[in-house]
Amino acid sequence: MTAPEFEYADVELCPGGPMLLRGEHVVRDVDGGTHRTTGPLSAVCRCGKSAAKPWCDGTHKLLPEDKRP
């Protein structure tokens, strides 16, 4: 057996969903405000419709497929 090298990313663009962040980051929002992640896993809104921006709150799932990121 050969042990494979796994592909692992700190920042992951989820198809149709948010940008997943692993580890500590400071995110600057469109208005210039900064937001520090509060845990090892965070999701940043990419659909623009979240009520908890810059973080994802799952709202993208309510959008029609062609309106998702």
Partner: protein, 315 residues
């Protein structure tokens, strides 16, 4: 302490657990009187593997007669759960199919009711029911860690690390819930409200323990976890809004707002990194992943149906 028995069967099971588990052999026990009688007995047998009871010898966790009885009740439970699902697992790319499966599931929503019309007493009733699981949130999934292959194992631990506060006990999710319970005047001790929990709530908890304790059911366990995470963000937002509407304490509201954003990240990890990686290695697990996800949502529907019905009767 062991809960109150709910019939002749659980009464005899509890008596045997307090004194001599060899009396748990099938021939010595009466038949269960109803769903509550069975569910509370199985819940208690599972509890020996979580936190135990002051009035049960810790050695009895692995007593052969207790395990044999547990196996018999589990076999009935698994058959019942599998019978509930009459659908077929959707085809196509896994993550898309999974999210669509969860989104398309329709059932009564406790969170929507809490957001718009529940009274404070009804919300407290719900929080008491939620406490049975939320005070051990993620614990049944943790049993699965040593049973998974490298990639899904790493992803599960990544998710659990966040659930368990990233090392800070103050941020451990079930501790956040305990503090929330106290902030609204409820008891925060583990299992405090077990005697108030209907069979639907017990069975919801029993299913998670069943999936978590059997390596064979790793697909169902991880599918259940993924569905749980994928049905959490929006209901948590509704819960927080309802609690705010009623002017309940910020600590409990904070528990739910924390879950809006935390679970929006967790659902991606659970679906893509845990279940996706599990299925990359073991494609044959796909049916069970969807079975677990269905079970998660179906049991929540049953709990919601029970509570909404009960509240309507009183109103």
């Amino acid at each position: 302490m062991l809960p109150k028995p709910r019939g002749a069967f659980s009464a005899d099971v509890f008596e045997a657990l307090r004194s001599d588990p060899s009396r748990l052999a099938k021939a010595d026990l009466p038949d269960a009187e109803n769903a509550d009688d069975t569910a509370i007995a199985l819940w208690s047998l599972y509890e020996l593997h979580f936190r135990g009871f002051e009035d049960v010898d810790e050695n009895f966790e692995w007593h052969p007669a207790a395990l044999q009885l547990r196996a018999r009740l589990e076999s009935d439970l698994e058959a019942r759960l599998r019978a509930h699902w009459t659908g077929t697992p959707p085809q196509g790319e896994f993550a898309d199919a999974f999210f669509e499966f969860v989104t398309n599931h329709d059932g009564p929503s406790l969170a929507r009711f809490v957001q718009t019309e529940a009274t404070e007493e009804q919300v407290l009733d719900l929080l008491r029911m939620r406490s049975i699981y939320h005070l051990k949130e993620a614990d049944p999934s943790a049993w699965m860690v040593p049973r998974l292959d490298t990639a899904p194992k790493a992803a599960l631990v990544e998710l659990l690390y966040d659930e368990y506060g990233g090392g800070d006990p103050n941020r451990l999710h079930h501790y956040l819930f305990a503090r929330g319970l106290e902030s609204v005047g409820l008891r925060s001790e583990y299992g405090a409200y077990i005697d108030d929990a209907p069979a639907e709530v017990l069975e919801q908890n029993n299913a998670m323990a069943l999936f978590g304790l059997h390596r064979r059911l790793r697909g169902a366990a991880m599918g259940h976890l993924a569905a749980f995470e994928a049905t959490s963000s929006m209901p948590s937002r509704r819960m927080a809004a309802g609690l705010e509407r009623l002017g309940l304490d910020d600590t409990m509201i904070g528990y739910y707002t924390e879950h809006v954003t935390a679970d929006a990240a967790h659902e991606q990890v659970a679906v893509r990194a845990i279940c996706g990686a599990l299925l990359d290695g073991e494609p044959g697990m796909r049916d069970d992943v969807f079975f677990g996800a269905f079970t998660c949502m179906d049991q929540e529907d049953r709990v919601a149906g029970h509570l909404l019905g009960r509240w309507q009767e009183v109103a």
